[in-house]
Structure formats: structure tokens, C-alpha cells
């Protein structure tokens, strides 16, 4: 066995919760060994002009395995994650079979360990088969390390089922994450129900469908005292509801996706199914409200909702194509291009907060300091690059950003002290 080599990240600006400062960072084995000036090491990673921070954590990743390996595998998705600066992702449970049982959850975790590109944290379903009826045993999956439960792709429609789920979740000390959508209001929906939708002649996805479930769940959180995380909020009304609920002191967190901060519903005038997503792209007023929510802390985390779909499925008519878009490899750049955020805020939204919400904060989302786990990324906010679907590591190509120029890029990613991304390229 060879001697463990030390890695030095040279000349970057360290972003920590309590301070932002220039320093070299040395990693030996799986831990940070030194933070200081003029450090020496066996391998040197250039960090000039970059920030170095804890690796990003994605609360919302669809890895498609098991069940839809033609769209993505845990390995290809993990590589996309590493390239996006992520050292941990929460794998959504809408696989086939669904992640409502110990065997499937273990399979997902083990495939992640095998790929060894980032930590793959399986989430669990709220209800068996995501059918919205029978509750999953949260404590049973919590024993497997699952902390976050969701029926993502659909919301739990029935009030009583959701209330009982929250009571059980509280007992098991896990967090439920809701995809807020009253399905009876979105039957056949294709895009945001607004002026553009009326003009294009497709069934609309009203903001009300999201906001009604946000409101209902806030009421249920108040009634049960359980924790709740809101997935991919997309409307002005939702942001205000969550803002008010937080002011009341309710144990609620919320995420927003890079695409809901950057893309308008009007892009659907192209009828390109790569712009179809659930919840749908909304209006300029919604984008402004979501940005305000990010800035004032109503929104806790940026989450990608990375949703690969095989090419042929996105070549169907818009009303038949499945919703979803890639996000892992473009998240930092898209958010940085859409908003003026300082480095500390970016790390808070993409690493510290999501790590805490997912219960991953023993290993991820921590300070750059001696003795801490070396789950790190090195990134900048200045580099301009053009997104190309061919250049992405994901097995699917359904990025909505193809051909667009974005600003900010991940240079290096270290997972468990190993270099998985070097100068923007995956090392394995």
C-alpha cells in the first residue's frame, strides 16, 4: 500500500460560517490536516481566484436507480453531483421499486458507496408505493439512517393521512418533505396557468394548487408540532405563507430550485419539453418573490430537483413528455448568474443549511478547520462558460440551459479526502 499523500488547496478564500479569509488548506486521509499560510503537500490543487468551502449538499436529487437506469444510474448521477461541487445528495424515493422498504434503501446507499463519488443518502417514502394511503414505517427506515421522507412527484392528498404521517414522523424524529400540489387542480397540466399558457392553448398549472397544500401543511404542522420541509417552492404566495409560518415559530424549512430562480414560463413558447417541469416555471413576479425569500431567510436551501429523462421521452408532444430537468452540474453557476449573492450566503444555501435539514451535518456542511471531514469543494463566481448538453456527465441530456452562458464554476471536489473532481473534470 502506498503512503497516504497530502493534498494542498493553495491560494483560495476559505468560506466558513464565522469568517471568510485567505488560506491554504491541507488534507491528509479523510480529514483536514491544516489551514494556514504557505502549506506544503504532495499534490497541489490551484485555488487562486476561488473559494474553498464545505462540499455542497443537494436535498433533492433523482438518481433513477433502481428502475430507470436508461435515464441515470447512481454512478452517473453521483459523477454529475461531484462535478457540481456536491459531496452529498439526498436520493428521491420515486424509484421502481420505491424507497419505502429497507432492502431498496440499502441498495441505493450501497450503490452510492460503490460509485464512491459523493455520499448518496436515500430518502424514504411517506406512504407505501407513494400511493398516498398506507404509512411507511419511519422508525424502521430511520434505523437505516434515513432522515428525510417524501412522496416527491406527488403530494400526500388526504388530510388525515398527512396528519397521521406527521405524528409518526415526530415520534421517529425524522423530517417529512412535501411536494405541494393539490392534484385535482393540476389534471393534465402542462405549464404555469397564466397569460402564456392561455396563448399556447395547453392545460394550466395554477399557483393555487401549490399554495393550498402549503397552507394545509402549515396548519397540520401547527396542530402536530412535527417538523416539515417544503420541496421546490415556486410561487409568490407560497413564499409568503412560509415567511408567516416561520415568523410564528413553526418548525418549517423550505427549498427553491435554481431553475425557479432563473427561468420564466415564457420559455415554453418554444414547446421544448426540456422546459417542462413540476412545479412549472412561473412568472417574473414569482421569481422576484423567490429571490426575496432567499435573501431574507424564508428559503433555507437551494436544491436541484435534478430529474434526468431519457432523450426519447422528451421528444414526445409537450403534454405527454414527463416533467423534469437536469440540475446538479449547473446549480452553482445558475444561482450565481441569477442572483447577486455573497460567497457566505451561497454556502449557507447550498451546504450548511441543507446538510442540517438532511441530518448529514456530522460529515457535510461543516467549517473548513483542522480535524473536520474533507468533504470540500473549490469554486469560483467569475468564470463564464457555455452549458452544453453534450458536455454533461449525466446519462440524460435534458438540461434547459443548453447553449446559455453562465457564470461561476466548480474547479475541484474532494470527497472523503479523495479528489473526485480536478480542474472541472471528474477523476473517475
Amino acid at each position: 500500500m502506498s503512503e497516504t499523500k497530502s493534498i494542498v488547496i493553495r491560494g483560495a478564500t476559505v468560506v466558513n460560517p464565522d469568517a471568510v479569509f485567505e488560506a491554504d488548506v491541507r488534507v491528509v486521509g479523510a480529514l483536514i490536516d491544516a489551514v494556514g499560510d504557505a502549506l506544503e503537500g504532495d499534490i497541489v490543487l490551484e485555488g487562486k481566484g476561488c473559494y474553498v468551502s464545505s462540499g455542497f449538499v443537494d436535498l433533492h436529487t433523482h438518481l433513477r436507480e433502481p428502475g430507470k437506469e436508461e435515464a441515470e444510474t447512481i454512478e452517473s448521477g453521483s459523477r454529475a453531483a461531484a462535478l457540481g461541487g456536491y459531496t452529498a445528495v439526498v436520493a428521491m424515493p420515486n424509484t421502481d421499486p420505491a424507497q419505502d422498504n429497507v432492502a431498496t434503501v440499502r441498495f441505493v446507499r450501497e450503490q452510492g458507496i460503490k460509485a464512491n463519488l459523493c455520499e448518496v443518502m436515500p430518502s424514504g417514502c411517506i406512504t407505501v408505493g407513494r400511493l398516498g394511503a398506507e404509512l411507511v414505517s419511519y422508525s424502521g427506515l430511520a434505523d437505516e439512517g434515513v432522515t428525510l421522507f417524501t412522496d416527491d412527484g406527488s403530494g400526500v392528498q388526504d388530510e388525515d393521512t398527512m396528519k397521521r404521517a406527521l405524528v409518526s414522523a415526530r415520534l421517529a424524529n425524522v423530517t417529512l418533505a412535501q411536494h405541494c400540489e393539490v392534484s385535482s387542480l393540476t389534471n393534465g397540466a402542462v405549464m404555469h396557468d397564466g397569460a402564456c399558457c392561455s396563448s399556447l392553448g395547453v392545460p394550466g398549472w395554477p399557483a393555487l394548487a401549490e399554495e393550498q397544500m402549503v397552507q394545509r401543511d402549515i396548519d397540520l404542522v401547527r396542530a402536530t408540532g412535527a417538523k416539515m420541509h417544503f420541496l421546490h417552492l415556486s410561487t409568490q404566495g407560497s413564499v409568503q405563507l412560509v415567511r408567516d409560518a416561520k415568523a410564528e415559530g413553526l418548525p418549517i424549512t423550505a427549498e427553491v430550485t435554481p431553475h425557479h430562480l432563473s427561468l420564466l414560463d415564457e420559455l415554453l413558447t418554444s414547446f421544448d419539453p426540456n422546459f417542462k417541469v413540476n412545479p412549472p416555471l412561473r412568472t417574473a413576479a414569482d421569481i422576484t418573490a423567490l429571490k426575496d425569500g432567499v435573501l431574507d431567510g424564508t428559503i433555507d436551501a437551494i436544491a436541484t430537483d435534478h430529474a434526468p429523462h431519457a432523450g426519447h421521452t422528451k421528444e414526445q408532444p409537450l403534454d405527454q413528455a414527463p416533467p423534469g430537468m437536469l440540475g446538479l452540474e449547473t446549480a452553482l453557476a445558475v444561482v450565481n448568474t441569477a442572483m447577486e449573492l455573497d460567497a457566505r450566503k451561497i454556502v449557507e444555501l447550498m451546504s450548511w443549511n441543507p446538510a442540517r435539514i438532511a441530518g448529514l451535518d456530522m460529515r457535510h456542511g461543516r467549517a473548513i478547520a483542522v480535524g473536520e471531514p474533507a468533504n470540500i469543494c473549490v469554486w469560483n463566481t467569475a468564470e463564464v462558460w457555455e452549458v452544453s448538453r453534450e458536455g454533461l456527465a449525466s446519462k440524460s441530456k435534458n438540461t434547459p440551459y443548453h447553449g446559455m452562458n453562465v457564470r461561476g464554476r466548480v474547479r475541484h471536489t474532494l470527497f472523503n479526502g479523495q479528489i473526485v473532481v480536478n480542474e472541472g473534470k471528474a477523476t473517475r
Binding site: V190, D193, G194, A195, C197, S198, S199, L200, G201, V202, G204, P206, S270, F271, D272, H312, E315, Q316, P317, L318, D319, Q320
Partner: protein, 316 residues
């Protein structure tokens, strides 16, 4: 013009020019032998993923009068039934040598999507609730030629009655009529109007009685019974009470007013009067004009560099 997908792609000038070209086509159609060699050697594929009689026949007749070859495809008797994808269908037909696809599909946007899989011209023959641009052209042609002002509908009031929300005809016509200067009034129950109607340059009325006495054009849409059943919007009785054209209402039309309908007519539903008894009815004229207008569209797309009138044998 590479494709003919949506009225929104055309300026008013382009619309006016196209209608002028349709005048030439109408002249050809009036001849004893209504056929010219303008598109000889061109192949036009008529690709109807959704059933249609009149639009398909109208396009195919238009193509034949210009001497184009017509390749006919209908989804109900094709490999689409065997699960062939849209892309594969278009690429396969394209490989046979097609200069233009005339496409009808039940999903909005399909003609536009198809343009990425072929170098041929694509003509939208109706997509979902989105657009039916040749219908708008033939309706604009019918209105302007009847009123004698070929370039404008300024000062005209046009009422469109029926299920606006689910109507591609309405979307195309509202765009063309308003941009040509007409005042458009939509007559429909709220549930059959699109949700953002306030962003359209139109007004609304809640019964046909409010408008019938003072419009220049009464444009009736086909009411689809299945829509009513599926959404339980309003009962058929209530609908016909407020929105059907009865004999009594037709009698209130101004002497110069036109009655139009894109067909097929639902007798006893939105049309409770025999249109042949209404002096202002231009419903059959619309059908005849459809051929001339579609000839103009196909010729604009495939007719090449030479001046239209010369290559059409205008001196024949």
C-alpha cells in the same frame, strides 16, 4: 417563410400579401381546368395524427391544383399504432423525399417540435387548442373580400361565440382579426374562456343576445358535447339558451352582417337555424376560400424564386 406554424409568426403586411396571393389562386380555381404546374415535382406529405375531413381534403386539393405530389398519412392506419415515435415517423417520411409536411395533431406545439427533425417546410393544420393558422387566413380572406377592404378590418366588430378556451380556431382568429384592426367580442361562459383573457385585446359578453344585433360578423364555434360532459361546466340546455344561434336571433343580424362557422356544424346545438336560410351565411364560401388560401400558403413555402403570378400561369 420557412414554415407556417402560427399566426403570431406573420406580420400584418405578410398576412395581406398572402391574401392577395389567394386572390390569384381563386382566379385559378374559377377556371374550367383549375390546375397549374407551379409545384410540379414537389411532394407534400399530409400527416394527420388526429382525424379531420375538411382540412385534410382542402390541403390535398390545394396541393393537387398546384400539381404537387401528395403523400397521405393517417395515424389510425399507420405504425403510430405500433408505438412509433413522432420523431421516427417524421424522419421516416422525410427519408422518402418530402418538401412539406402538413401536420394535424391533438397536442399543442407538435408542428413546431417537428421542425427540428426535418429540413422540409412544416405547415400547421391544427395543433391541440393552440393554433389553426390557415383557418384564420381563410376567415380573414372571407371577411375582407366580402367587405371590400382587402387590407384592414378597421371599424368591424366580430363576435366569436362558443368554447374559446379549447379552440385553436379562436386563438388564431383573435390574433389575426385584432391585428387587422377589428374589434373582437368573445361570447362564452366564463368556464369556456382562457384564464388570462384580460391579457388578450378583446372584450367579452355573456350571451349572444347582447351582440347579435350590432356585429359585422357573427362567428360561431363548434360546441363539443364531450367537453360539456367531462367538465360539467354548464348544462347543454343552459348553453343553448344563451349561446346558440336560433332563427329569432339570426333574424336580428344586420343586413350586411356575415355568419361564419369553421365547421363541422352541430345542428341543433350551436346552430339551431338552418344556415342556408340565413342570407348572410358565408359558411360554404369559407370552405371554397380555404382551397385558395391553402394554395397560397403552399406556394409561398415551396414556390421558389420566380414571381408568383408568372409561375402560376397568370396569363393563361
Amino acid at each position: 417563410m420557412k414554415h407556417f406554424l402560427s399566426t403570431h409568426d406573420l406580420s400584418v403586411d405578410e398576412i395581406v400579401q398572402l391574401l392577395e396571393l389567394a386572390d390569384h389562386m381563386a382566379e385559378i380555381n374559377s377556371r374550367a381546368v383549375p390546375k397549374v404546374p407551379a409545384l410540379r415535382g414537389k411532394t407534400i406529405a399530409s400527416v394527420f395524427f388526429e382525424d379531420s375531413t375538411r382540412t385534410r381534403l382542402s390541403f390535398e386539393t390545394a396541393a393537387k391544383r398546384l400539381s404537387a405530389e401528395v403523400m397521405t398519412f393517417s395515424a389510425s392506419t399507420s405504425s403510430v399504432n405500433k408505438g412509433e415515435s413522432l420523431r421516427d415517423t417524421i424522419e421516416t417520411l422525410g427519408a422518402m423525399g418530402v418538401h412539406a409536411f402538413v401536420v394535424r395533431h391533438k397536442s399543442s406545439g407538435v408542428p413546431k417540435q417537428i421542425t427540428q427533425w426535418t429540413n422540409a417546410a412544416v405547415v400547421n393544420a391544427g395543433d391541440g387548442w393552440h393554433q389553426h393558422p390557415t383557418q384564420a387566413m381563410l376567415d380573414a380572406y372571407t371577411i375582407t373580400r366580402n367587405f371590400g377592404d382587402k387590407e384592414s378590418m378597421a371599424g368591424r366588430t366580430i363576435a366569436i361565440v362558443g368554447d374559446i378556451k379549447h379552440s385553436r380556431v379562436a386563438r388564431s382568429n383573435i390574433d389575426v382579426f385584432t391585428r387587422m384592426g377589428a374589434t373582437v367580442v368573445l361570447v362564452a361562459p366564463d368556464a369556456l374562456l382562457p384564464s388570462s383573457i384580460e391579457t388578450w385585446n378583446v372584450s367579452t359578453a355573456s350571451s349572444i343576445d347582447e351582440v347579435v344585433g350590432h356585429v359585422d360578423v357573427l362567428y360561431m364555434l363548434r360546441m363539443q358535447r364531450e367537453r360539456m360532459d367531462e367538465s360539467l361546466i354548464i348544462s347543454m340546455k343552459e348553453y343553448t339558451d344563451l349561446y346558440a344561434l336560433t332563427e329569432k336571433r339570426a333574424a336580428r343580424l344586420a343586413p350586411h352582417a356575415l355568419l361564419m362557422h369553421p365547421g363541422p356544424i352541430n345542428r341543433g346545438v350551436e346552430m339551431q337555424v338552418d344556415p342556408s336560410e340565413v342570407p348572410g351565411s358565408r359558411i360554404l364560401q369559407q370552405v371554397a376560400n380555404g382551397i385558395s388560401v391553402r394554395m397560397a400558403v403552399l406556394f409561398s413555402l415551396l414556390g421558389g424564386e420566380i414571381s408568383p403570378v408568372a409561375s402560376l400561369g397568370g396569363d393563361a
